[in-house]
């Protein structure tokens, strides 16, 4: 199967599974949608279907815009569908990794817009990079989840930690951007010398 079709299909399947889990979770007790009665599960379901529609629109047309919207809708479906208690907050880390994997697969399929002949090792390496990234992000996302469940903090402390985290994040991003600007100097593509 063509790599573009494979990655697009995997992204769609992943998104459908993600949406299905979010919708199924909304039928259980403790879900924020429980207050809406029997119509409650319809909201995450609708959000998931809308996300799938965005992906279906984006992948064949090779348009990147709707993919971001689809990811946001899937995230929203998870937040409104899953209860804030029990094992669900911990499962959010796994869901975050899955959402990242869906996003990576969707954007990867766009890279195959121009069909070409690539050695399989390139795809294997990229797949491994995506898996590693998803795994690492799950591990990282579990840290705050576990910390929060072990040591509940007050609102002020939480806000202070959030502000510190945001400042650290901005500092890291700024230093990386500076490094990027320094390393990405003008063109260095060398071809054969022009004939005299």
């Amino acid at each position: 199967m063509a790599p573009r079709l494979t990655t697009a299909a995997l992204a769609l399947i992943g998104a459908a599974a993600f949406g299905a889990v979010a919708t199924a979770a909304s039928t259980g007790p403790g879900s924020p949608m429980a207050v809406a009665g029997r119509a409650g599960p319809m909201i995450p379901g609708f959000l998931s279907v809308a996300a799938l529609a965005c992906l279906v629109l984006a992948l064949p047309l090779s348009e990147a815009g709707p993919i971001g919207l689809a990811l946001a809708l899937l995230g929203a479906a998870w937040l409104v569908g899953t209860p804030a208690s029990g094992a669900w907050p911990t499962l959010a880390a796994v869901a975050a990794g899955a959402l990242l994997a869906v996003a990576e697969l969707a954007y990867w399929s766009l890279d195959f817009k121009v069909a070409g002949k690539d050695p399989p090792s390139i795809h294997v390496r990229r797949g491994a990079a995506i898996a590693a990234l998803a795994g690492a992000s799950i591990a990282l996302a579990l840290v705050p989840e576990l910390n929060l469940s072990l040591t509940p903090l007050s609102g002020l402390e939480l806000t202070a930690i959030g502000l510190l985290g945001a400042a650290a994040l901005i500092a890291v991003a700024a230093s990386l951007a500076r490094r990027l600007r320094l390393s990405l100097e003008p063109p260095e593509l060398h071809g054969p010398a022009a004939p005299d």
Binding site: W78, L79, L100, V114, D118, P144, E185, H190
Partner: protein, 423 residues
């Protein structure tokens, strides 16, 4: 190389920020957890990206080839940094096609290790085309950035037309003074028997026809036709080219011209070329093996240049059209200027033969009534032009692309012979 950020970079940053914001506003830490991987991915992408320093060179196995031949391109690429995914694309002109594979190839570059990508291109049409400069696109490890550039390549490929195979072509009405393969109408020293006449003082004894002389009691002499060469000028109509599906009338006309030039030069004739169009091109008649190279080099530069300037044959340099030369015109009969020029040549007494490269197969049929009516008028107009030529005694043959040129020329030769007999 130009750096382009993938849309993924903006989307991930926005999703990460949105997750944090929702967590803060709504008091749901899960939102931050959902957004965290995207922030991690962006930071990892920024940390891992490196601008590739790529050096590349192209090698081609030959730069002069015939239509239908393959040319092997080998691109050797080296980078001082690892390039996880590099893609090479050849933007191919219409004269070239990728044979046996895609024209977009991917590879992975390891730092300071040269890699070679080979591709085979098939030549589809004659002409001078630049060696395709590959476009390079390097992706970073996580696909957040693309580096794009093109390799500067200034060499050209000279694709010569594959000549039409001819065993016989049109023969000229008049011959020239040099020895060649064409039987002259005049009498002189030769092999082919012409006539017998009574002996006159000064005749060589070896030409005496002893059998007739013995029977009649008077000396008679055998007369022979000498073998001479001819002057042939190939008149290429460059005012119009009807194209469809990657092929056109000019493609066929140039192939026919190459075939005719090769045939006549092999017979020791002198051959010249006139490209009569928006830009006038000419090559003085000459003989010998070097002339075929001059002709094909001139032919592959043939192109239709749009011009509204009314051009007659008076712009043709005088030496290009030697007296008693055979002019073989390859035309589509589409442009009045070339039609009039050929009639003018005929009126000046040149031995003209017209090979019409039939344009109808390349004219895309329209469906609506007005276009069909226009098509009928166009065909009637062309039929009238052909009739005009025939009335003026110009032999004309139609050559449908795909059919052997030999057949059309054989018909033309028959027509010319019948006209000579009537004359």
């Amino acid at each position: 190389m130009t750096l382009t950020a993938s849309p993924k970079l903006a989307a991930y940053s926005a999703l990460g920020a949105a997750g944090l914001l929702v967590a803060l506003v709504w008091g749901r830490p899960e939102a931050a957890v959902l957004g965290l991987p995207f922030i991690v991915a962006v930071l990892a992408g920024l940390a891992l990206v490196e601008r590739p320093d790529i050096q590349a060179s192209i090698a081609i196995d030959r730069d002069r080839l015939l239509e239908g031949d393959d040319v092997h391109l080998a691109v050797t690429i080296q980078s001082t940094t690892d390039v996880p995914w590099l893609r090479l694309a050849w933007p191919l002109p219409g004269s070239l096609a990728a044979s046996g594979g895609a024209d977009v190839l991917g590879l992975r570059l390891v730092a300071d290790e040269p890699a070679t990508v080979e591709t085979v291109l098939t030549t589809k049409r004659w002409g001078v085309v630049p060696v395709p400069s590959p476009l390079l696109r390097a992706h970073d490890e996580l696909g957040f950035f693309r580096f794009e550039g093109a390799l500067a390549e200034r060499r050209t490929l000279r694709i010569y037309p594959r000549p039409e195979t001819l065993r016989r072509a049109l023969t000229a009405a008049e011959t020239q003074n040099f020895s060649g393969n064409e039987l002259s109408r005049v009498r002189g020293d030769g092999i082919e028997f012409a006539d017998i006449r009574p002996y006159v003082a000064g005749d060589r004894p070896r030409h005496v026809n002893w059998r007739l002389s013995t029977r009649t009691g008077q000396l008679h002499i055998n007369q022979m036709h000498p073998e001479r060469n001819t002057d042939v000028v190939i008149f290429l109509d460059l005012f119009s080219d009807v194209r469809s599906g990657g092929e056109g009338t000019l493609d066929y006309a140039v192939r026919a011209a190459a075939g005719l030039a090769e045939h006549y030069l092999a017979r020791r004739d002198r051959v010249g070329v006139i490209g009569f169009g928006g830009v006038l091109r000419w090559l003085m008649p000459a003989m010998g093996s070097t002339q075929i190279y001059r002709i094909v080099d001139a032919l592959i530069d043939s192109e239709v240049v749009l011009s509204h300037f009314w051009r007659g044959i008076d712009v043709i340099p005088p030496g290009t059209l030697p007296p008693k030369s055979l002019i073989v015109a390859l035309t589509t009969l589409m442009d009045e200027r070339s039609v009039d020029a050929m009639l003018d040549l005929r009126a000046r007494g040149f031995d003209l033969a017209v090979v019409e490269v039939v344009a109808e197969p390349f004219a895309v049929p329209a469906s609506h009534d007005a276009a069909q009516l226009a098509g009928r008028i166009w065909r009637l107009d062309r039929a009238a032009t052909r009739l005009r030529y025939r009335r003026l005694g110009v032999p004309m043959v139609q050559w449908r692309p795909g059919e052997p040129l030999q057949r059309a020329l054989a018909e033309g030769q028959l027509e010319r012979r019948s006209r000579w007999l009537h004359a």
